[in-house]
């Protein structure tokens, strides 16, 4: 173990948005550097894990929770939101209805999970399938900036899982925000009461481990 205190973080991140917007594709691209047009639908939830060497002294593990897009699953997926510290909300730039649903997803997110300090968890908006973007839909970019401010998004990015555009940047932006929150929010010491054996390796996603 390094004496200079190498830090390890485990963060739980939700990926939400309407069905067929490419949530699974974004995750597969980000984690496996791979794209296929035919991922099976997500029923309930799927997972992926991404390890980031953030800087010389920090390793970050992102636990990505890929939540079913069909809104019917909303009731069932409530338990999946617990202890998340960040979220991507995804829409498909070729389908206006998926953008209209973004507000609903954001409101649902804020309703289901909050940071320990009672604030909304940071959310980044992903305008996916930008390689297929039809003209005029997104209007001008300033509008989306305003939209994000108004709806409480930390940032937004144009992404394409197919062409590998914007995903790394979006993730860096979200993680930076999570780290910033992590430093300002008090949370219980890992060795405090109520931490059970077995949480050590993955249960308590907010914990900071110093070795």
């Amino acid at each position: 173990m390094a004496a200079q205190g190498k830090k390890e973080h485990l963060y739980k991140i939700l990926v939400i948005g309407d069905l067929g917007t490419g949530k699974t594709s974004i995750i597969k691209r980000y984690v496996h550097q791979f794209f296929s047009p035919h991922y099976r639908a997500t029923i309930g939830v799927d997972f992926a894990l991404k390890v980031l060497n953030w800087d010389n002294s920090t390793t970050i593990r992102l636990q990505l929770w890929d939540i079913a897009g069909q809104e019917r699953f909303g009731n069932m997926t409530r338990v999946y939101y617990k202890e998340a510290v960040g979220a991507f909300v995804v829409f498909d730039v070729t389908r206006l209805s998926t953008f209209e649903a973004v507000q609903m997803w954001k409101a649902d997110l804020d309703n289901k999970v909050l940071l320990p300090n009672g604030k909304a968890i940071p959310a980044v908006l992903l305008a996916n399938k930008c390689d297929l973007a039809s003209e005029g839909f997104l209007g001008n970019i300033n509008q989306l900036d305003d939209y994000c401010r108004e709806k409480g998004f930390h940032a937004w990015f144009e992404t394409s899982a197919k062409e590998n555009i914007g995903i790394e940047e979006a993730a860096r932006s979200l993680v930076a925000k999570i780290l910033e929150n992590d430093e300002t929010i008090d949370h219980p010491q890992p060795d405090g009461d109520g931490i059970r054996v077995g949480e050590e390796d993955g249960r308590a996603p907010k914990k900071t481990k110093c070795c």
Partner: protein
Amino acid sequence: MIVSLLQGDIQEEYAAIDKDTEQLTDRQIDVDIPRCHQYDTLLSSRDGHCKFKRILKAWIGSHPALVYWQGLDSLCAPFLALNFNDEALALACLSTFISKYLHNFFLKDNSSIMQEYLAVFSQMIAFHEPALFNHLDSTAFNPELYAIPWFLTMFTHILPLHKIYYLWDTLLLGNCSFPLFVGVSILQHLRDDLLTFDFNECILMFSDMPDIDIQACIHDAVRAYLATPPSTYLRKHDHTYSPPTDVPPEALREPLSLDVLRQESCPHISAHDVIALCGLEYHALGYGGGARESGPTHSLRSPSSPLQRRAEVGRRRGKSGKGGRKGRKGVLVDIRSQEEFRAGHVPGSLSLPHQLAFQPDGSLTPSLPSSSLSSVRTSRVIIVVANKGKSGPEFARQLVRLRFPHVCVLHNGAAVLRSLGLLTALGEDP
């Protein structure tokens, strides 16, 4: 000839259903079909996509109380692939299958049905795989995180078509609870890995379902199913359940509420099943039934189901071996105080008063009854007999922590045995 008559009706019905009018769910169907079992040449063909959509729309149209859940597409896939040139037959199969195995799973609000199924599944994991149950429980890796697609699609979302056919050939012989044991069996086949995995590794494993030996898996599922007293997996939402007749009503049990199901790790068992397992007889009350030779009978649920019959044939062909004797399949563990035990107990039951049974480290306090219990730990169903309250479920949970398999709690406890006239005072043992 009957088939051809049926065929005629099916065709007419299918023709009469509106499959063309645009509906809200069309968009979902359009997104789902091109990513459903697309390695199959028929299902990935243009024609296949059109047929697929028509059948799904026809199912929705003909079931106004139910809705399209993602996963219905996977469920439909094998029927379409097998009846590619007969859409009406594919729909008839799909409808019949869903009404038998997935009754009300496709309601708009299916949460009570799904959650009950998962909670019973969790108890079946504890019943058959205590060590794995303990591990998954301590890592908070719950069935809600991985088993929804298993049951909502009857495994069609996680298995390729050729394995689905193999699995369903057996599944179709069983009742609507049999899939629980397929789930248990899948976990058993992944047990060695799962036991060493932390939460992250567990979730990753199920996100990308590993290749499983489906034949071995089915074999073990049937074995687990037959080794499980039917009353232990009783569900409120099992529409096929009809209680056995000619049995005193108190010998049966009613389903537990969802809250209780979730609180208690171990299933409840009815006195009726206990009587069969332990070779007891309905003494009083003039009920003739008594125990049957083969232990708790799955005929409780579906009178001599094909799966049962097939297993019976297998059993008869197999070694006659031990265990043939009546009443050698269950052991009663009476956890009430010694005074209560003396005043009335079932002859042959083990007295392990709860307050004295466990040492501070959780292990069993050495005693004659506790070593008797340990000696039958893998060969008997362990039935905890307690007074009403939390004692029984807690005792059972502790046995599961100690990795005892086949642990269950007698529903309504000692009071039921008393009212059935099965308790004998010490010294009066026959």
